[in-house]
């Protein structure tokens, strides 16, 4: 009751009541508590309460060396683990002005795109499940297993690999890597048509998602909603195009933009991005140059004193890493600008006036990963 009294939400009107979605809830996909203020079936306002999985990663980073920090970044947005690692590695390499071998760039880009595909597969599975089409969960995860098998063979673990390290990658790719990636792309191109038939073209699904959760482009920029959610509102914010890194300046791919600003647009952006990612992988997989899998680095990595900022495009949006270094082997201050944290800020704004069932669809279309919010 103390909670309700302290809420700066509008005074409790006669027909208004408060409902808790979470922290344990099948659709919030993680431990997030949403205090929803409802009038009948309509959402009047929403207050997210995060911090259930706050582990103090930024504080821990101040005591860890740069290679150790990489292992912590895996655990933030665990579905874009490679991309998170990639961000820190790029920052360290730029600060030390080290040029990584071409082979490393190819491997990192291919791994990044595989990460993006599997993250979107899991997102699609849980999106269908949240809306009631429970079969989608099994179809999406079954196809994702192929990517996890590829990773297990090369990096040793299916999940949270910590494969990148400053200077390159930990070990070279497995000889079967190219063959398996080719097999995966061939299978997935056929399976993704099933996804469209099952969900995208379904009239019930279209009615549930079109016109729901409108986010205008100005609001997206003001709230800092990047990634597929921002591109669904017509904002061209793909860091791979704005500030290309690794091999992105040398591959041809389209930035997927849609202008309807609703849940359906954000859904279609991610579906199309899976196609684009496969396109990028196909351009790179056969041309991996020979070379070292890592540049020569000193045993102890010390960044020169100063401040550095690196942006990458993770599966959820723009990940920013900001490091203040005082010349030691541990960062003085390390700040992660995570996409899910910023995207959460817009959930209140776009759910007003929608129904509870729409809230589930909107939350699923923003693709929030809770450890990314809480760090």
């Amino acid at each position: 009751m103390k909670e309700i009294v302290n809420l700066p939400v509008s005074k409790i009107e006669e027909e208004e009541y408060h409902i808790n979605m979470g922290p344990q809830h099948p659709s919030t996909h993680g431990v997030l508590r949403l205090l929803v203020s409802l009038q009948g079936e309509m959402v009047k306002s929403l207050k997210p309460h995060c911090g259930y999985i706050h582990r103090g990663i930024e504080k821990m980073c101040e005591k860890d060396t740069y290679p150790q920090v990489i292992h912590l970044t895996d655990r933030m947005d665990y579905l874009s683990a490679h991309i998170n690692n990639h961000a820190v590695c790029l920052l360290v390499e730029k600060a030390l002005e080290i040029e990584v071998p071409e082979r490393v760039k190819y491997i990192r880009t291919i791994m990044d795109e595989l990460t993006r595909i599997q993250s979107h597969q899991l997102w699609w599975s849980s999106f269908g499940m949240d809306l009631g089409g429970l079969t989608c969960f099994f179809y999406g995860l079954r196809d994702r297993e192929m990517i996890l098998d590829i990773w297990e063979e090369t990096t040793g673990s299916r999940f949270l690999q910590s494969y990148n390290c400053p200077g390159g990658v930990m070990q070279d790719i497995h000889p079967n890597f190219q063959k398996k990636v080719h097999a995966f792309i061939k299978t997935f191109k056929k399976k993704i048509k099933d996804y469209d038939r099952l969900l995208s073209g379904n009239v019930i699904f279209e009615n549930r998602s079109q016109g729901v959760g409108l986010l205008s482009k100005e609001d997206a920029i003001s709230y800092g909603v990047t990634g597929p959610s921002g591109r669904g509102s017509g904002w061209s914010c793909d860091i791979r195009k704005v500030e290309p890194y690794s091999m992105y300046s040398q591959v041809h791919f389209n930035e997927v933009l849609r202008y309807e600003c609703d849940t359906y647009a954000r859904y279609m952006v991610r579906m199309q991005e899976m196609h684009e990612s496969m396109n990028i992988i196909e351009q790179l997989i056969d041309n991996i140059p020979e070379g070292d899998h890592s540049a020569k680095m000193k045993a102890v990595i010390k960044l020169p004193a100063g401040e550095y900022f690196q942006r990458v495009e993770s599966a959820r949006g723009e990940l920013g890493v900001y490091v203040v270094s005082d010349g030691n082997k541990t960062p003085y201050r390390m700040k992660f600008r995570t996409p899910s944290f910023t995207n959460l800020g817009v959930l209140d704004h776009i759910s007003r006036g929608m129904k509870i069932a729409d809230l589930v669809a909107i939350g699923a279309s923003l693709d929030l990963v809770i450890p990314d919010i809480d760090r």
Partner: protein, 152 residues
């Protein structure tokens, strides 16, 4: 717009701003009182048009507490870093920019939670990750917690 012109334009608006040398992006230290006006002008002036606040971080420089703003312009594609510092460690306070860039609402709450920096006129300044009754501000350098932090 290149860094020199940007610096000139910003120094026109706030002459007391100091440039920090040798940084990756154009970094300017701005007095705390002028922050809000500068931010409004940076967003609304057509040649500057900084409409995207990428990151808002708190930093504890040992003696001073600072807030660092990384901002970007979608239209002109230039990036600038603004800093505000304060010596007051017992009750540091800056003006909020959440009325200019809505994304700052959550970021400023996080900075308050971790550093204790208050933001004037913020719509809802409460702790975001830690419990309401937590004592202390963890990311400050002088934060001591025998229970949760193990020092080797």
């Amino acid at each position: 717009m290149d860094n020199e012109t940007l610096k000139a334009r910003i120094l026109e608006i706030v002459p007391e701003a100091q440039l920090e040398e040798n940084k990756q992006y154009l970094t300017l230290l701005v007095p705390a009182a002028k922050l809000h006006d500068l931010a409004i002008k940076m967003k609304d002036t057509p040649e500057l048009a900084f409409d995207y606040l990428i990151c808002l971080s708190g930093v504890d420089y040992g003696k001073q507490l600072a807030v660092v703003y990384h901002m970007n312009s979608i239209l002109h594609k230039h990036m600038v870093v603004l800093k505000v510092k304060t010596d007051d460690r017992s009750d540091p306070a800056f003006d909020t920019v959440s009325d200019i860039w809505r994304t700052a609402e959550f970021h400023e709450r996080e900075t308050y939670d971790m550093f204790g920096i208050r933001f004037n006129n913020h719509p809802d300044l409460r702790r975001i990750f830690l419990e309401e009754d937590w004592k202390g501000y963890p990311l400050r350098k002088d934060y001591v917690d025998e229970v949760n932090i193990v020092e080797f």
